[in-house]
Amino acid sequence: MGWRLPLRSLWRNRRRTFLSLAVIALGTSVSVFVLGFLENSRVQIQDSTVQQFGNVQVASPLLWEDAADGYEYLISPADAAQLAALLAEDPAFRGSTRQLQFPGLLGAGKLTQVVSASAIEPGNGVLDFSDLAVEGRGLLPSDSASVFVGRSLAKRLSLSVGDAVTLTLTTVNGAYNASPFRIVGIYRYSNEQFEQQVVFVPLAFGQRLLNTDGVDRVVVALDSIASTNPTRDRLKAGLASAGLTLQPQTWDELSPFYKQLAAYFDALFGFLTLAISILVFFIILQVLTLAFLERTREIGTLRALGTTQGEVFRQFFAESAWLAAIGSLAGVVVGVLLAWGFNIVGIEWLPPGTIDPVLLASRIEPKTALVPFAVSVFATLLSALYPSTQASRLRVVDALRVE
């Protein structure tokens, strides 16, 4: 009778039961869909952040703290070689590339634009952006005075592949330097500001322009995002024991935007979940209170037959548990189907500050289903506490008098 009585009581009041189940399922399915959507957005941003920064970057603390006087943060070739040896020992290591970033003024005819030049190792494969080329090609190891510019910058300065531009900069010694470059390709990126500001040049040529053999950072690619923190910790220990005054930073430490966005998504989902939970809580509370009120005489009978207060509570709470389990499970199924159908339709939108439309999708994975399921079950059970307690505390004689 432990499960039969609660289930049959639910079945007896089918209309009310279905209403309760519908409320719980609706709340759960909306949560599943929205959490899947937020999770998908977060993963998209996470992937693009890792694509932009690599998993880990190693540089002097002076660079990270923006405390350097001039270019004193540069990593010498000897230190870079020692770091490369350390990285090669890491089990999650997939590859690394050296970089040298410096500000400059890009001139094309009468038009100029302040840019951030990123001198990279062409053909390295870790972070050379060649696959983002929409016109021309990315940089090649054989390139010298070549530049790979963003689509927005090309549009702003009316540049095409093959055009010549001039990059003016200050060397590490503080002298002015300028050099002509040939545009070998135009890249696209999800961020318009990035496209306008960042230009890529070959590392060797960049070092020559800056009059240095150093680099400002080493970008590290790992086998997975999950390997980031363990590798960072191993690197810290390795750098300290090797006596190198270098510091690793992870992709999320390098991107405050991602951190803020992830926190915003969490807050958004938390707020939505809270709102849905409150709604589910009060509707189910109302439904159960009415349902139990209608069964006052039955409760009196059960108690008169010797059912204890605790047993009555458990019996009525069990009804709510069935409602919670079935409603939440149905909600997960509906939410997953909704997400699946939405993903098939393939709706695109243009996020602010981006160039290319992004596919709107709701990510279906255990986390996006389990969290709403657990929250709905919790809200339903919480709403059952009060009416179940009231039902169990009824005075038997009073309950039996109710017609």
């Binding site: 009778m1 039969r4 009585l5 049959r8 009581s9 079945w11 007896r12 005489r297 039955e298 009196g300 009978t301 059960l302 108690r303 008169a304 037959l305 010797g306 059912t307 204890t308 207060q309 047993e311 005075r395 038997v396 004689v397 039996l400």
Partner: protein, 246 residues
């Protein structure tokens, strides 16, 4: 069959005793007496009919001796155990093991079948499944409802429902069965059949029956008659013999 032979002849000690029991209610600023210093006792195998008009305190008295309510003063003893200061849990245990209840409106659990309704007290007693099934089958056979075991209460007539309620009251092996107006919602013929059944079960099981009714016709089944009026008990005859007032 004479009156003497109709009832259980095994006489044990006092199963139930009410000593100077008073029950009052507050109505506004006034205190209303539902029962005044009532003393009463029942022996094993008794078939007692408590008769009285509406509002005389019959149901209040039944509620007190079935320990679903507590007296304002005085004491109710079940097998010598005082109950008025017992915890709700202990009173529930007494009802579960020692007392069977039959209600005027049958009070069957609507979502359970006849057999499941009868089984319910055994579940509370945590009896093994095999024993439960055997006892339910026996009880349903005794009340003549074996064929209707799978029916829900709404698929049974009033008389059949009351038979299920009687089976439910007896299945847990109580010492006392308390019935509150068991024939009030039945036609006279069905009421007679129900009373015959209770009388037979009293005889066969030697379980004490206390029947509260306002129906004078029920009194003829009594082994002992008690009258209640204005909250006071007046002892009537025992099996045709005049008895002393409690």
């Amino acid at each position: 069959m004479g009156a003497e032979s109709r009832f259980c002849h095994v006489r044990g000690g006092r199963l139930l005793e009410a000593a100077q029991v008073t029950k009052t209610y507050r109505v506004g600023t006034e205190t209303v007496y539902a029962l005044r210093e009532v003393s009463f006792s029942a022996l094993q195998g008794d078939f007692i009919v408590i008769n009285g008009p509406s509002g005389s305190g019959k149901t209040t008295f039944l509620n007190l001796i079935s320990v679903i309510d507590r007296p304002s003063s005085g004491e109710v003893f079940i097998e010598g155990e005082p109950t008025s200061a017992q915890s709700e849990g202990r009173l529930a245990a007494l009802r579960k093991t020692k007392i069977g209840l039959v209600f005027q409106s049958f009070n069957l659990i609507p979502v359970l079948t006849a057999a499941e309704n009868v089984e319910y007290p055994l579940l509370l007693q945590k009896r093994p499944r095999d024993e439960r099934q055997a006892r339910v089958a026996t009880m349903l056979a005794e009340v003549g409802l074996s064929d209707l075991a799978r029916r829900r209460p709404n698929e049974l007539s009033g008389g059949q429902r009351q038979r299920v309620a009687i089976a439910r009251a007896l299945v847990g092996g109580p010492m006392i069965v308390l019935a509150d107006e068991p024939t009030a919602n039945l036609d006279s013929k069905t009421g007679e059949a129900v009373m015959d059944l209770m009388r037979r079960l009293n005889e066969e099981h030697c379980v004490t029956f206390i029947v509260v009714t306002h129906d004078p016709a029920v009194s003829r089944y009594a082994g002992r008659r008690v009258r209640i009026r204005d909250g006071r008990l007046e002892e009537g005859e025992r099996d045709g013999v005049a008895a002393s007032t409690s």
